[in-house]
Amino acid sequence: MRRFLRPALITLLAFLPLGAGIAAENQPWEEVFFRANQAYKEGRFQKAIDGYSQLIQSGRETGHLFYNLGNAYFRLNQLGRTIANYERARLLIPRDPDLNFNLRYARDRTRDAIPASRGLISTTFFWLDSLNLDELFWGFAILNLLFWAILVARLFLRAEWTYYLSLVVLILWLMAGTSFGVKWYQLGTDDRAVILEHEVNVLAGPDIQDTVLFKLHEGTIVRQERSEDGWSLVRLPDKKRGWVKKGAVEQIHSTESGDHFSDVM
């Protein structure tokens, strides 16, 4: 018994300072969060934005923090950033009723009437809007485990019911796997961006001298195709395209973590 107890104690002592360090490190973040909440409550919204942004930049990219950040921007009457953060929150907590209520309200306040467009994939996989990537992953992981477990069981038990069960689980496994893959693809190719300025001229080329094609207003969601020399090429669902200054739009989702906070900070 002593043979095993001694290494266990050594291991525990070795990790204890690390655990305590983690706990000590967590404490400031909670304080940051509470301070930001307090600032929001007291009407110091910029202070709240700083706090929430600090937490997000430190890696705590939770849906609730993006939601709070969106609220704080809303109080500062920055509709574009409000919608951008609500949309980010929606990727993480898509079924949160507070978020959906606020996002709907924020969208109602935008000026441009942009027709809603849903692609074939979004229409077919309609349930993806209500689930985030983590939920889809864990659903797929559980079905994956179940599927292989049944196959293992069939190595030893060749009963007919295990065959039918494996077929059913296989179908679910394929659905879950496809859903996860599609969601992953959607996030990876999510090029949506939000207009941040009150009114933006959309030009025919990446030059201030180019022809103004149309105007967009704060909060409008566009597709950002690419960026060049401080200009972004944006596209609307009705195929209108044009160039805007890069600082006038903010991409909702970026594959590189923290990219979308450069403008915020």
Binding site: W29, L55, H64, D98
Partner: protein
């Protein structure tokens, strides 16, 4: 029935006939007892002591009864049987069968009698008929004047009547001879209308001690204006046949030829006239005349019913009023439906039914209303009334329905909502519903729970954990699969080693040149035991070949193996057991071949 069958037989031939017979034989008895009913019918309801009345007991729904009907209420009558007749009617494809028992009854005394009921037993079950009333009066006083074999008489039931009252005018033709082509001319008097009551009757009666055949026709006389009227004589024109007197009985002196068609008597036209009558028509009294007098004269009664008495709001109940009686039923007014608050009233078309009989015009009018209450509650339906002049009491009367109430339960949600929209109409209605009005808009507050900080560590494709979670079950499956396969392979390896060992032992034995046939035979047996895990005590050539075939060795090799064993066996049994000859050289080749084939 027989006549019907004969008739059918005349017209129907070929394959249809069996079908008809089938229907008659099998179907009719089935339908016959479907609905058995017994009815007593009299040819008239009023008669004198000298009249003979025809009474028919009709049993419908059967072709025969188990016994004659037992008649009640005929103690005051002389009864004579008039025969039995069966009948079959096919109306609109429906077959009705029945038996009619005919009787002739003659009153013994005057008065009003209830005739019936008649009891009939059909199929062991007793059935009872209706009863009918009969009024018997004294016979007309003999005037002492012999009116001959043919005369016409007219009678008025009352010499005094009110306007719209209907005294009965009866015309009777008394005859003791054959007549035909009868036509009748009624007297024409202004403000008097004659309405025939039913079909003419024919019966026997006695007048002045003589028996006559009587033809009776009844009319209701409807005066439309007061005043004194004289109803002139009614005239009847006919052809009369008087039989010629013969001195002796001849060829045609048979009842058959006494029919007017064959009669040798000559017909002559004749017109008869009845006596005149005076009728005084009184105006309806002004005293006690209701303001809403309907003009009905006679005797009337009113009945009402409400179905159902309990409904849900929005559903309908039916109020039915039946006004029936005797008199000028054609003037029964269309009554006005009840007026109820919060209730829609829809009137149905009234149905008038006029049924003239020997006593005059009778009938009824059925009026219906659909009541659709809109609200829950209890609704009192006020009585509906109609006034009329009662000719029996000579007074105005009011026929009135009984008060009724309709209970209304809460209706469907739509109905409730509809009523609530009219909340101002009654204090019981609830407040009116209205859409929630948005007074302001704002966002919902921030999330302040520490949980908002949780969930930041997410699984992302490309992470080790991601692939570990997804691939781990696959690895487990792979391990299980290969483990099983390895185990199977190990078993096979052990078997191969055993095989090689057994083969080696046998080949080693074969190399010993001085091995006997018996020893070699035992070695081969041991080889098989060891190679295939058997426990053979002895081995015949057939068994050896059989074992090899069952283990997958080819037929040729198995036959070679058998031949070797036979040779060894032959050597042992022929006394050459001490030498195996060249067999020991063949065996190793054979064993190698076997090892090769079942590797």
């Amino acid at each position: 029935m027989n006549r019907l069958r004969e008739k059918i037989g005349c017209f129907v031939r070929g394959p249809v006939r069996p079908c008809i017979l089938f229907l008659l034989v099998f179907l009719l008895p089935c339908v016959a007892r479907a609905d058995v009913s017994v009815t007593i019918k009299l040819d008239r309801r009023e008669a004198t002591l000298v009249d003979s009345i025809r009474m028919v007991v009709s049993v419908s729904g059967t072709r025969s009864t188990e016994s004659q009907p037992i008649l009640h209420g005929l103690q005051s009558f002389h009864v004579t049987g008039g025969g039995t007749s069966s009948r079959v009617e096919i109306i609109n494809g429906k077959v009705n069968a029945g038996v009619d028992y005919t009787y002739f009854i003659q009153p013994k005394k005057t008065g009003k009698f209830q005739i019936g009921p008649a009891d009939v037993t059909v199929g062991g079950k007793a059935f009872r008929s209706n009863t009918v009333s009969m009024t018997v009066t004294e016979a007309a006083q003999a005037s002492g004047v012999d009116r001959g074999p043919l005369f016409l008489s007219a009678n008025l039931s009352s010499e005094q009547a009110y306007v719209e009252e209907q005294p009965i005018y009866t015309v009777k033709l008394f005859r003791q001879m054959k007549v035909s082509d009868i036509s009748l001319d009624l007297p024409e008097t202004e403000h008097l209308v004659f309405k025939q009551l039913g079909k003419p009757l024919e019966y026997q009666s006695v007048f002045n001690g003589k028996t006559y055949q009587v033809l009776e026709i009844r009319y209701a006389v409807v005066p439309s204006k007061e005043g004194g009227y004289t109803i002139g004589p009614t005239r009847m024109t006919m052809t009369v046949y008087q039989p010629e007197r013969r001195s002796s009985r001849g060829l045609f002196d048979d009842p058959f030829f006494r029919d007017p068609f064959f009669s040798l008597s000559s017909g002559r036209p004749m017109t008869l006239a009845s006596e005149s009558h005076a009728l005084t028509v009184l105006p309806l009294p002004q005293a006690g005349r209701p303001a809403d007098f309907s003009g009905l004269v006679g005797t009337f009664k009113i009945e009402s019913k409400l179905e159902p008495a309990t409904v849900k709001a929005g559903e309908s109940a039916t109020l039915t009023v039946l006004l029936s009686g005797r008199g000028n039923v054609n003037r029964i007014p269309d009554m006005k439906g009840p007026e109820l608050s919060h209730t829609k009233v829809y009137a149905d078309n009234p149905v008038l039914k006029v049924e003239p009989d020997a006593q005059g015009l009778a009938g009824s009018k059925t009026m219906k209303w659909a009541l659709v209450p809109e609200k829950q509650g209890r609704y009192e339906i006020p009585p509906l009334s109609v006034s009329f002049f009662d000719t029996t009491t000579h007074q105005y009367r009011v026929a009135q329905t009984r008060p009724m109430s309709l209970s209304v339960l809460p209706g469907e949600p739509e109905t409730v909502q509809a009523s609530s929209q009219r909340a101002h109409e009654g204090p019981s209605a609830g407040p009116a519903k209205q859409a929630v009005k948005e007074l302001g808009r704002d966002i919902l507050p921030v999330h302040t729970s520490v949980k908002a900080l949780a969930g930041g560590d997410r699984v992302r494709p490309g992470q080790v954990f991601f692939w570990l979670v997804l691939m781990a079950p696959l690895f487990v499956y792979g391990a299980a699969f290969w483990g099983l396969r390895f185990r199977r392979k190990t078993d096979q390896t052990v078997a191969a080693m055993k095989s090689r060992k057994a083969a080696g032992k046998l080949i080693k034995k074969c190399r010993q040149r001085r091995i006997s046939a018996g020893e070699l035979s035992l070695c081969i047996r041991d080889y098989l035991n060891e190679r295939f895990g058997l426990a053979l005590g002895s081995l015949t050539p057939e068994e050896g070949a059989e074992i090899l075939r069952s283990k997958g060795v080819s037929l040729d090799t198995a036959q070679d193996f058998r031949a070797v064993l036979e040779r060894l066996e032959g050597a042992v049994y022929t006394g050459k057991g001490g030498e195996s000859g060249d067999i020991h050289e063949d065996v190793p080749k054979l064993i190698r071949q076997i090892a090769k084939e079942i590797r």
